[in-house]
Every structure is written in structure tokens, then in C-alpha cells.
């Protein structure tokens, strides 16, 4: 038997008081696709960053192809034949594809010979692995799928034999993801070893040969993919039985709460992101917006939440809402009984340096209940309110004098959800409600959303997680390139159909 391509022995790593990896050992056979699955914060990415020389392990050894190898920096990792495709691409936006590929692997101090040699090699790689890209295109002008190819080509150009991909499908449409997997199979068949990090069970089941499961910094199991099931993996990930389905009774939609007509939104760079959409959300229903990140869902939420101007008509309970100028900001939206759980809680929903009790009023801080006088705020009222919400939503640690950054992702999200849902809004806007949230908190947050619906309120849910959309929504609209590609009922559609819509293939053609 040949030596394993990678063997990690007893890897441990701490960040301050947090132990991200505890005594992890793993062996990856050459020429296979090896999956690593685990929840957010389970330590997958830390482990791979150690392998790529980004962090130094506190303890443990790395063996590559049967040889003990020190990897103090990325240079050493590259020299050992390891390539990594990060979740967030590491590309220079205003450089060409070719410049990005040679960066750090130039052929001498002069640029021109390096570039022409690289162009030739790139041509060969393109034919060998069917990885076509335009070498002279600027990164900022090509799509994410293409950018990912550039990242893979970067690794191959550096003659990587081991390729690590961190959550590679997060930004891809299902068809694009399928194409990525075809490339990966091809690479495997050429003898490359591939490590696939993901939190999506289906990808593991479909694409990998072997799978390792991580939980809370520990490696809990390594099994042949063929010998396991999604249910078993989920249980290994979480440490207990998991309900993959959300319990809910059928919806009984009432009057129209939100009506959107021909809405158009432009982003900060002047690019039109929402290109004339029509949507309706009724009382007592959850409308899920499915789509790959970057197809206009974020801008849709931002306009509805008053963070960005738009053009078109939005009515709430029949009353038109201004889309620009006075009356179109977040304060006016809240006054109109629209609550908003934003997509990015750390950059938007919370002030990370504020205490929990300050955050519990964030956005509603001008409410009469929080004022002591015309000028002064009533901090005692704020703290009282915070303590109540912390208890009702089981936020841990239950201490309103901690700053937001001291809570875990799940508890941060609970603070935001508590703040918004407890307002009893007519319309709840909620974006990526469970991104970076542990499974326990996911179940809790899902229940709260469904409860709000059952109380006869309208919910507009945006999520890039198709599973979440399918299990929560009463109706699904698919967004692609700023347009609504179609609406479906969750019981009368399939992931495949939705996937095609998300890729811009319209219903009739599919």
C-alpha cells in the first residue's frame, strides 16, 4: 500500500482561550476525494489553514507522502505540493487572470518572460483539465465561477498534487457546482488528491470517497462515504439526533401585507442588481427567496429595510412606502412595523463593541420607552428590556454586560432575532437566518420564524441554503441576475428544478 498523501498526527491549536483543534489525526489516501464535514466553528478551516502554513500548530506533526514535513508558511506548503482554494478567493481584483496566476510563482525578476511562459503552460492546463479561462481578462470583470477556476489553475500552475477546497460551492449555482465536481473527478483520475471541506451533507454523499467528521475541534469519525448515510453524519456532526425537517402546520395566508411592483435597485458601483421584480407576501405566510449569493437578494432586502434607495413601488398593507429621500430610511421602516434581521449580523445587525443591552435597542433606540427625557436615554429601561429578552430567548451567557463580540454566532443571532421578533412586526425581513449558527440555535430560530407566521404575520426569507428555503417556506421565489425566475410551492418542486432556476434556466426550458 502506498503512503498516505497527507497524514496529520495529533494536531492541536488554540486561539487564546479557545481550543480550535484538539489532538486531531487523519490520513488521506492519494488519488481520492476526502471530505471533511462539520458545523460552523468545528475547526475544519483551522485544520486546513495549519496544513497550508497559515497558522502554526501548537502540537502535532504533518506527514506528506510518507515524509515528515514542517510547514511554517504557505511557501513551504506550496513546495510540498499543496494547493488551496479558499472560501473567499485570494485574487487581486484589478490584475489580469495571468498576472494572478504567476503572482508569487514568477519565473525570474522580469515580468514579460514570466507572463509569456505562463500563458503557454496555462494553455496546456486548459486542455488537460478542461479549465478554460481568458488569460487577459481582469478578475473584477469575470464571474465567481471563473474566479474559482483561476484559483484552481493557480494551484495547478504551482504543480500542486494535493488540492484543498474550502466550502467551494457556497457561491456557485447547482449546475456550476456540478461542473466543479466534474473538474474535481477529472483531477482525481489524473492522480491528484482532493480535500473537500463543506457543511453540506449532500455534497459529501455525492462527491467524496471518504469522509471525516469534526465536532467542537475534535475529529469524531472517519468513514467510507459508501458505508454511511446523511442521518448518521448529521448525528456525528452534532452529537445527538437531529431533526432535519421543520415542524409546521400548513399556512393559511391572509391579506396582502407586502406588494412589490417593478422594483429596480442599483448598487454602490452603479450596477443594477435588482432588475424589475414583482412579489407579494401575505399575512401568515413565509415567502422564501432562493438563489445563489449575489443575484440581487441582498439588495432587495436592503431596499425593503431602508438601507438603500430603489425605484418602483412597494406597498405595505396597501400603503405605498417611499423608496428614496425622506421616509425611506431604516427608522421609517421600523415605524411602519417592518422588522429586519439582516444577512450579516456582525457588520449590520449588531454593533460588536456595544454591550448586549445596548444592542437590544439597536435600531429602536429612539423609541419612547427607552427615553428618560428629550435628550437623555433611559439606560435602566434598556438593561431591563435586555435581561428579559436574554431570558426568553435563552441567550448564553445570560449577561447583558458583555459586548456582542463575546457571544457565539448562534447567541449573537438570537439577540438580533429576539430584538426584531419581539417587536411583533407586520412584516419580518430575514436574511441568512442561520449562517454561521450552530444546529441547536438553528432549530430555535426556525421555530421562532414559524411561530411568527402562525401569529398571522408576513415573513420574507432570503437564504442561499436551499434546504432551509425548502423546509421553511410556504412559497418559493427563485432569483437570478436580479430577476424572479419563477415561483414554486415547496411540495410541488424539486431541488433539481429550483437549481436550474437558480442558474437562470427558466421553467419552460427546464
Amino acid at each position: 500500500m502506498t503512503a498516505p498523501a497527507i497524514e496529520l498526527k495529533g494536531i492541536s491549536k488554540s486561539f487564546g482561550p479557545v481550543q480550535a483543534n484538539k489532538d486531531i489525526s487523519i490520513s488521506v489516501a492519494p488519488g481520492t476525494i476526502h471530505g471533511i464535514i462539520g458545523e460552523n466553528g468545528a475547526g475544519k478551516s483551522t485544520l486546513m489553514s495549519i496544513l497550508y502554513g497559515f497558522y502554526k500548530a501548537d502540537k502535532g506533526e504533518v506527514w506528506i507522502n510518507g515524509k515528515h514535513t514542517e510547514i511554517p508558511d504557505s511557501q513551504a506548503a506550496i513546495a510540498a505540493g499543496i494547493g488551496m482554494v479558499f472560501q473567499h478567493f485570494k485574487l487581486v481584483e484589478n490584475f489580469t487572470v495571468l498576472e494572478n496566476i504567476i503572482l508569487g510563482a514568477e519565473d525570474g525578476p522580469w515580468l514579460r518572460p514570466s507572463l509569456s511562459k505562463a500563458a503557454k503552460i496555462l494553455d496546456e492546463l486548459a486542455t488537460e483539465y478542461e479549465l478554460n479561462v481568458n488569460p487577459d481578462a481582469l478578475i473584477e470583470e469575470i464571474g465567481v465561477g471563473m474566479q474559482q477556476r483561476v484559483e484552481i489553475l493557480k494551484a495547478l500552475y504551482r504543480q500542486a498534487d494535493i488540492l484543498i477546497l474550502d466550502e467551494p460551492t457556497g457561491v456557485l449555482t447547482p449546475p456550476e457546482a456540478d461542473q466543479l465536481f466534474r473538474i474535481l473527478y477529472r483531477l482525481r483520475d489524473e492522480g491528484k488528491t482532493i480535500i473537500l471541506i463543506t457543511h453540506k451533507l449532500r455534497e459529501i454523499m455525492d462527491a467524496t470517497d471518504t469522509v471525516s467528521v469534526m465536532r467542537r475541534g475534535e475529529m469524531t469519525a472517519t468513514v467510507k462515504t459508501a458505508d454511511t448515510s446523511p442521518e448518521e453524519l448529521a448525528e456525528l456532526m452534532v452529537g445527538r439526533k437531529v431533526l432535519l425537517q421543520v415542524d409546521k402546520v400548513p399556512a393559511s395566508p391572509g391579506a396582502k401585507v407586502l406588494e412589490i411592483e417593478n422594483l429596480r435597485v442599483t448598487d454602490d458601483q452603479g450596477v443594477e442588481r435588482v432588475k424589475g421584480i414583482d412579489l407579494t407576501v401575505r399575512a401568515g405566510e413565509i415567502l422564501g427567496i432562493a438563489g445563489v449569493a449575489g443575484n440581487g437578494q441582498s439588495e432587495l432586502l436592503e431596499v425593503l429595510g431602508g438601507m438603500r434607495p430603489g425605484v418602483g413601488v412597494i406597498r405595505l398593507n396597501g400603503e405605498p412606502l417611499p423608496l428614496t429621500g425622506p421616509g425611506s430610511d431604516g427608522q421609517s421602516r421600523r415605524a411602519a412595523h417592518i422588522a429586519h434581521v439582516p444577512e450579516d449580523r456582525q457588520r449590520e445587525g449588531l454593533i460588536m463593541e456595544f454591550y448586549a443591552w445596548e444592542n437590544v435597542a439597536f435600531g429602536y433606540h429612539r423609541d419612547q420607552a427607552y427615553q428618560k427625557s428629550k435628550l437623555l436615554m433611559d439606560n435602566t429601561a434598556l438593561r431591563q428590556d435586555a435581561d428579559e429578552k436574554i431570558e426568553r430567548f435563552d441567550v448564553r451567557p445570560a449577561n447583558s454586560w458583555l459586548t456582542a463580540k463575546n457571544f457565539s454566532g448562534g447567541n449573537q443571532q438570537k439577540i438580533v432575532v429576539a430584538r426584531e421578533i419581539e417587536r411583533n412586526p407586520d412584516l419580518l425581513l430575514i436574511g441568512q437566518p442561520t449562517r454561521g449558527v450552530d444546529i441547536g440555535a438553528i432549530e430555535f430560530i426556525h421555530k421562532q420564524i414559524v411561530a411568527l407566521r402562525d401569529a398571522g404575520k408576513a415573513v420574507l426569507l432570503v437564504s442561499v441554503e436551499l434546504e432551509e428555503i425548502l423546509s421553511l417556506s410556504d412559497r418559493i421565489a427563485v432569483m437570478f441576475d436580479g430577476r424572479i425566475m419563477g415561483e414554486r410551492l415547496p411540495d410541488a418542486t424539486t431541488e433539481k428544478e429550483l437549481g436550474l432556476l437558480m442558474a437562470g434556466v427558466s421553467g419552460e426550458a427546464a
Binding site: D73, M84, F95, G104, W110, R112
Partner: protein, 322 residues
Amino acid sequence: MMDFMTLIQVLDSTVRLATPLLLACLAGLYSERAGIFDIGLEGKMLVAAFFSAAIAYVSGSVWLGLLAGIGASMLLAGLHGLASITFRGNQLISGVAINFLAAGMTVLIAQDWFQQGGRTPSLAGNARFNPIELPFAEALSGVPFFGPIYAELLSGHSILVYIAFLAVPGTWWLLYRTRFGLRLRAVGENPAAVDTAGVSVVGLRYAAVGICGILCGIAGAYLATALQAGFVKDMTAGRGFIALAALIFAKWRPWQAMWACLLFGFLQAIALRYQNIDLGGVVIPVQVMDALPYILTVVILAGFVGKAIPPRAGGEPYVKER
């Protein structure tokens, strides 16, 4: 109106006054293109001016003075690197601190060494950079039009002036035609890309800050040993900030930086030659000319003449993350 010879003289003075701006501007270009904002150009020039003049005076050799000036400037550049690269501090605050450090230390040391109220003794002879006559300047000076341009405008500057203007194509070539330039530009746009490609972000940024130190050193030495004959307190007089303005005006590109510096040098030359300028009845007071470079910079910054987009990673310390 100005006659031809006056124009030549003003342009000649423009070149002299643009030189320290250009050197400092290019210095800032290297630093900021690598993602390190530098509002400490002023301070680095100031220490270089002092140490070049002091050492030139003591040793009698302007070349030793130049080396000392560069050394002092690089010391402060290293401090800026330590604060903003190694300790990931606030680059603006570091720059402010460096400016004050230079303003205080130069006077302190000057007073301790020379006891002349914070200045150095006047430099003469080999302790100064003297003008270089280009070949045939004398012979060609009689030729109409081109003669004066060659003899008066192009010839007769100190070596540092020619170095400054040669540094422009040099910088362009380094930035766009070499591996180092590619990496330097990349580290100012996206340091994570450089890091994951196995190149040291810290090393590149220190290199850039180091080059910045060298160029600021030459700029300061030029002020004290070529443009003037010795150091006086606060002699940079805001030139570091004007250079910064020129850099923004030039949108961080070398050739444009040269034109911007020549423009600002021209404004200074005019202000120096004429006190109050009479434009057909409307008298422009000298204070307006003094303030013009700063006003112009604000107008440029306001984006009324095209948007200036700095390097994307500029000002942000690099912290490794996934």
C-alpha cells in the same frame, strides 16, 4: 506679461522647487502602493534635511551628508514600519507621531550640536551639491529659443534634480515591468493574495517603506544641501503634505506624479517671485498663492476633477484570516 527669459527663469525655479516634492511624492507612491499610508513624509524629509546638513558640515563632504540624511529618514521609515506593519497600528497616527518626532528632535539635536537656535551653520563648497553644467551648455546658450531652454532650464541643476527626474521612468519600469513591482502592487490591493501565494506580506511592505525612506532622505538632503545652504527649523514647511496631495492628484501613478509635482512647483515658483499678483485689476494676495496648493488638493480630493481611488488595501493592517 512675462517675457521669454522671465518665463525660463520661473520654469527653472519650478524645476528646483518641484524636485523635493517629486522625490517625496515617489516615496509616498512606493509606500502607499504597498498599502501603507504615509502622512509622515514631512517628518522623514525634515530629519534627512537636518542630518544631511549637519554631517555635510562636520565632514565637509556632501555625499556623506546625503548618506546620513538617508540613514535618518530610513530610521523613521523603519519606525513607521514597526508601528504599521509589525504591530498593525494606525498608520495615520503613526505618521502624525513621526512628524512631531522629527520636528522636535531636529531642533533638539541642532541646538545641542551647534547652539545656533535650531539651525546648522551655513554650508559651502563641497559640503553642498553644486550645479552641474550639461555638455555644450555654454556654447549653445546663444542659439535662439532652444539655447536658453537648454542652458538655463535643463542645465545647471544639482545631481539630485536629475536623479529625481530619472526616478520617474525608473519607478514606472520597476512597478510595471518587474516581479517586485507586480508583488508590490498586489500587496497594496489584496495582501491575502500575496500571502497565500507564498510571498511575505511583511517583507514586501518593509521593502516599500524602506524605499520610501531612501527617497524621502534624498528629498530632505536636497532641501538642505542643494536648494538651500544648511538646515533651519521646520524647513520642509509642509512640502511633505503637498507631495501627498500631488500623489493623490496623480492617482498613485509615476508619470502623473511628475506632472502634479511640476504644477505645484510652478505655483511655488510664482508665489516666490511675485508677491501680490495683479491680474488686470484684480489683485491676488500672496496668501492666496501660499494656500493654493492646499486648496487645489482639497478640490481634487473632493473629486471635482475625477475620482481618486487609492490602493484597496491602503491603510488597513494585514491580519491573516481564512
